[in-house]
Structures are given as structure tokens and as C-alpha cells.
């Protein structure tokens, strides 16, 4: 097995390579941005039931929701355990878990300012699966042929410790309609 840094950079290189050789040509900036820019639809946030024992009943992001609830606005494309229930925070892994080196993204609307933000979802890795606060929202989520917005895969894939533990949601930019 490759070491941490090797593996990380091999992974990023091949992403770039894949991109230049394939995706850039195939997908291109237009389609993805256009599609990421699509306005949020609250109704899209109907949770998938078995993943929703923590957050059943409500169907859209709500301003008063806290970050330990599935309906918290940043979680609009999050499928996994909330790190806020696992000893972490909305943007921090628990003390003994490693931050994933690659992520998927979503664009979620913040009910507080009605703006859309680009959210990067890091998995936390290398310790047993947490099992708390399982959520599953899929706004603009797509299958693996749109890997950067796919959430049915283990994003600890490029880490040395590959075991999935939980997921955080960091704001990394403004969404299209907010820009």
C-alpha cells in the first residue's frame, strides 16, 4: 500500500490527468457550472427514509435547525453520519479521526440570507464508523459519472486510513446565484 503522501498526490495527479484527458473534454465548464448554478429547490430535501431516523418529518432546510439535525441547511447534499454527533463539529473531525483528502461538493441555500453557498463535504477517516445522526440529502447529487457531486462513495478513498467515520460540511465559496 502506498504511503500517505504518495497516495494523496497520485490521487490528485490522476484526477487532474483524468480531467485533462477526459472530463474537461467530456463535461466541460459550462454544463457543470450551469447545473450547479440551478436554483435550490427546498422540496428536493425529502430525506431517504432509512437514513432519516434522526431527522424525519420535515422536508426543507429551516433557519432554526441546528447542526446536529439532518435538515440543517449545509447538509443539503450530505449522505452520512454528522460529525457534530460523533465528537466533532460542523467543520471539524473528532480528535482522533483524519480529515479526508478529497471531497464532494454541494450548493446549499442558507435560509438566513437566502444566498447559496458552495459546501465541501469532508469525510472523517481512520476510526470505526460512528453510527450516529445518519442523514441523506441529495440536492444536485449525481451518480459517479459526476464524481465531484457524488455522495454514495467513501471519500476517505485517498487517505491512508480509509475507514469511514463521519462527515463535516465546510463553506468554501458562494454558489452561482449568490455570485
Amino acid at each position: 500500500m502506498l504511503g500517505f503522501v504518495d497516495r494523496l498526490f497520485r490521487s490528485l495527479d490522476t484526477v487532474a490527468e483524468a480531467s485533462s484527458r477526459g472530463m474537461a473534454k467530456r463535461v466541460g465548464r459550462r454544463s457543470v457550472l450551469h447545473w450547479v448554478g440551478t436554483a435550490a429547490v427546498g422540496g428536493a430535501m425529502v430525506p431517504m427514509l432509512p437514513f432519516n431516523r434522526a431527522g424525519m418529518g420535515t422536508a426543507r432546510a429551516q433557519a432554526e435547525k441546528t447542526d446536529v439535525e439532518c435538515e440543517y441547511w449545509r447538509y443539503c447534499a450530505l449522505d452520512g453520519f454528522l460529525c457534530t454527533c460523533c465528537g466533532g463539529s460542523v467543520t471539524s473531525c473528532p480528535s482522533n479521526a483524519q480529515v479526508s483528502k478529497v471531497t464532494w461538493v454541494g450548493t446549499c441555500q442558507n435560509p438566513a440570507d437566502s444566498k447559496e453557498y458552495l459546501i465541501s463535504y469532508n469525510d472523517c477517516c481512520g476510526v470505526p464508523s460512528c453510527g450516529k445522526c445518519l442523514c441523506n440529502f441529495n440536492l444536485r447529487e449525481r451518480p459517479g459519472y459526476r464524481m465531484g457531486v457524488h455522495n454514495d462513495i467513501n471519500w476517505c478513498m485517498a487517505n491512508e486510513g480509509t475507514n469511514y467515520h463521519c462527515t463535516v460540511a465546510a463553506v468554501v465559496g458562494l454558489g452561482q446565484s449568490g455570485g
Binding site: 484526477v15 422540496g43 478529497v102 459517479g144 462513495i153
Partner: protein
């Protein structure tokens, strides 16, 4: 017999030797149950997300719904179950220290007769550790090759030569994901791509090959195809987020769209397919079954079914709609009188549905349930 004798021997060592009572009746022997040959088997694939290193397949008698045994799938392992009687294949990962340490990946072979482990074949460690989409792990039409979808997140497909018991190559399918083998050409498979094309890969005996892009087949923004697909004769049948069925022919050196069948267009209630395996096809009857939910919107594509719709692929007509458990994955048995199996996401059960006879109005009759495991997301029958 031997094991029982030894077992008693060991246990009785702790008793001095109460030989007196031993002589008085014939001790029962402990052995193994035999699964009757030809038993129709149902496979509920449980990713066990709360204990993600300990995934498993619950193998059930498809008629009685009784548990026959458990096959391990370890860490987000993929399961491929070909034609009846054949071996069962698992592509998975093991960490040297259960939840930590170096990762090693294998194709594992289990007996289709008694479910025992037979052998393991090492594969590269970039296998996609994903939910159980059947299209991420498939076999060639002649059962000689296995194809494993990789993601680092850059995507490629590992080619495993089963007779040679080794991986012979790894072919990039950048921007694409999923494996849809040709039904005629063992060395050919297609893959769905983010730009709406299909890539077709013909590989050589040395495991090398290039991907050839088709023309536009779907629009991943407006009407994305679900990850999985089902066989209909010699074509692959896909469901789309928007409520259409795409029939794709992958037999040529590039794939072609042969049919696009609107299923819910013009129907009240914004009905859409949803879940992880929202479509199943009985190849003989040419009827597709779709798990449909109402009030569908962008992002609702994993919602469980409220109804199951039957669609005649030849006439492109919806034959009927039946209420359903909240299903996130479905399969249907092949042959004359198909039986449908659905994973109830809320009860964590697999439900057996008998289907009304051909000619009769479409209806589903529940005829048995069983636990599907902690968090099952794929179901197969053979």
C-alpha cells in the same frame, strides 16, 4: 462425528470423566445443514454502515424467505451474482487491523451451492468503496472476466481473468462510471459518462484497451441516468431521474440509444423513480418494474417508492401501478411467472411480491417478508 467426539472430549476433560452417564444414550453429532440443490436463492446485500467493515449478504430461500446463510462482504464490498449454479463473487477490501492499517482488495469467490469460501484473487486497491450498485462489479458474457469499477476519485476499470485467477489490466474510464458488458462480445463493456455519452471499451488479451465515446444519449443535468441497469434480451435498460426509461445497445463499437420511453410524462403528481435499484426487468416478458415516488423534484432521486409501476418495453405502455412498501431497491425473478422482491427501507425488510398473471390487471400480492439486514441497498434473486 469426529468434531462432536472431540468437542465432548474437551468439555468432559473439565468434568473428570462422567463416563457412566455418557454410556446411557447415543450422543447426537453436530454437523452442517445441506442446502437442497436447485433452491431458488434471494440475496439481500447489507452494507451495515454502522459497522461498515462488517458488510454481509443475507442469503434466503426465495420461496420460504428463510435464512440459508451469510456471506461476508467486509468494507463496502460489491456483490455480483451471475446465472444460477455459478459461483458468487464479492469484490471487497480488508484493512490489516480491521478498522485501521493498510488496505488489501480482493475478488472473493463463494460457492453458489453451499455458500462456502473458495478462493481470493488480489486486485488493485483503488476499487470504488461505494454503496452496492450492481453496475460497479460485473462479469463478461462468457463468465471468463470480471470487471471492477475503481475510483481514486479518478475512475478506471480493473479486468480480472477468472481462469488465470489474476487481474490482467486496469483501463481508465475518465469522467465515466459503471460497467455494462456486451451480451455478445466477452471483451467489450460500456460505461456511462458525465457528458451524457456512453464509453465503449474493447480490451485485448493483455488487458489494455481504449474507451470510444458514443454520441449524446442522455443529459446528466436535466435527466440523469441512475447508476444501475437491468438486462432485457441483449440490451441494457436504464431508469432516469426525470422518469424515463432508456434502452441502450452496447453491442457495437460505440453504444446507441434504441428506445427512450417516457413513463410518468403527463401523469398527475410528479412521479419519478427513486432509490438505489429503482428498476428491474423480466427479460422473458419484457416488462420493467419501477419504484416510483410522487412530488418528485431535483434531489428526490433516492426517495423510496410509494408505488411500483409495470411498463411493457415493447409497447412502451404503463401496464399498471400498484402500491408498494417504501422500496429503495428491487429485483424480479426471471422465467415465466416472475416474483418481485423489494427492500423496505423503513422496516429494513425484504418483501416478496407475487405478480398478477399475464393478461390480468397488474397487481402485487405480498407473499412473505424477511429481515434485509441493518441497511440493505441491493437485492438479487436467482
Amino acid at each position: 462425528m469426529r468434531s462432536t467426539f472431540l468437542a465432548c472430549a474437551a468439555a468432559l476433560t473439565f468434568f473428570g470423566s462422567p463416563a457412566l452417564s455418557q454410556e446411557e444414550i447415543q450422543p447426537e453429532t453436530v454437523g452442517n445443514v445441506t442446502i437442497p440443490a436447485g433452491t431458488e436463492m434471494l440475496f439481500s446485500v447489507d452494507l451495515s454502515l454502522n459497522h461498515v467493515v462488517d458488510g454481509r449478504v443475507y442469503v434466503l430461500d426465495a420461496k420460504t424467505m428463510k435464512l440459508l446463510g451469510i456471506i461476508p462482504t467486509a468494507s463496502l464490498g460489491m456483490v455480483h451474482i451471475p446465472i444460477p449454479g455459478s459461483d458468487i463473487y464479492v469484490a471487497t477490501s480488508h484493512l490489516a487491523r480491521t478498522t485501521r492499517g493498510p488496505r488489501a482488495d480482493f475478488v472473493e469467490v463463494y460457492s453458489g451451492a453451499d455458500l462456502t469460501f473458495k478462493e481470493e484473487i488480489p486486485i488493485s486497491t483503488n476499487r470504488a468503496q461505494a454503496l452496492n450498485y450492481r453496475s460497479l462489479f460485473w462479469s463478461s458474457s462468457d463468465q471468463k472476466y470480471l470487471f471492477v469499477q475503481n475510483a481514486t476519485p479518478a475512475t478506471s476499470v480493473s479486468i480480472v481473468d477468472l481462469p488465470a485467477k489474476k487481474q490482467i489490466g486496469e483501463i481508465p474510464n475518465p469522467g465515466c462510471y459503471g460497467i455494462f458488458p456486451s451480451f455478445k462480445t466477452p471483451t467489450r463493456f460500456a460505461t456511462t459518462c458525465g457528458d451524457g455519452t456512453f464509453g465503449t471499451i474493447d480490451f485485448k488479451a493483455d488487458g489494455t484497451g481504449e474507451m470510444k465515446a458514443s454520441g449524446p444519449i442522455f443529459d446528466a443535468d436535466a435527466d440523469a441516468l441512475f447508476s444501475g441497469a437491468f438486462q432485457w434480451g441483449e440490451k441494457w435498460v436504464f431508469a432516469s431521474y426525470g422518469g424515463n426509461i432508456y434502452v441502450v445497445d452496447v453491442e457495437g463499437d460505440t453504444a446507441t440509444l434504441t428506445e427512450k420511453i417516457p413513463v410518468s410524462a403527463g401523469v398527475e403528481g410528479d412521479w419519478r423513480p427513486g432509490g438505489y435499484q429503482p428498476i428491474a426487468v423480466n427479460s422473458a416478458t419484457g416488462i420493467a418494474y419501477l419504484g416510483m415516488h410522487s412530488k418528485g423534484t431535483e434531489g428526490s432521486h433516492k426517495n423510496p417508492a410509494e408505488e411500483i409501476w409495470a411498463v411493457d418495453l415493447a409497447s412502451k405502455k404503463v401496464l399498471g401501478r400498484a402500491p408498494s412498501v417504501p422500496s429503495i431497491a428491487m429485483t424480479v425473478s426471471q422465467g415465466e411467472t416472475p416474483v418481485l422482491f423489494a427492500l423496505d427501507a423503513l422496516k429494513a425488510e425484504v418483501v416478496r411480491y407475487e405478480i398478477s398473471a399475464a393478461g390480468q390487471p397488474f397487481a402485487l400480492t405480498p407473499a412473505g417478508t424477511a429481515s434485509s439486514g441493518d441497511l440493505a441497498d441491493q437485492v438479487e434473486v436467482r
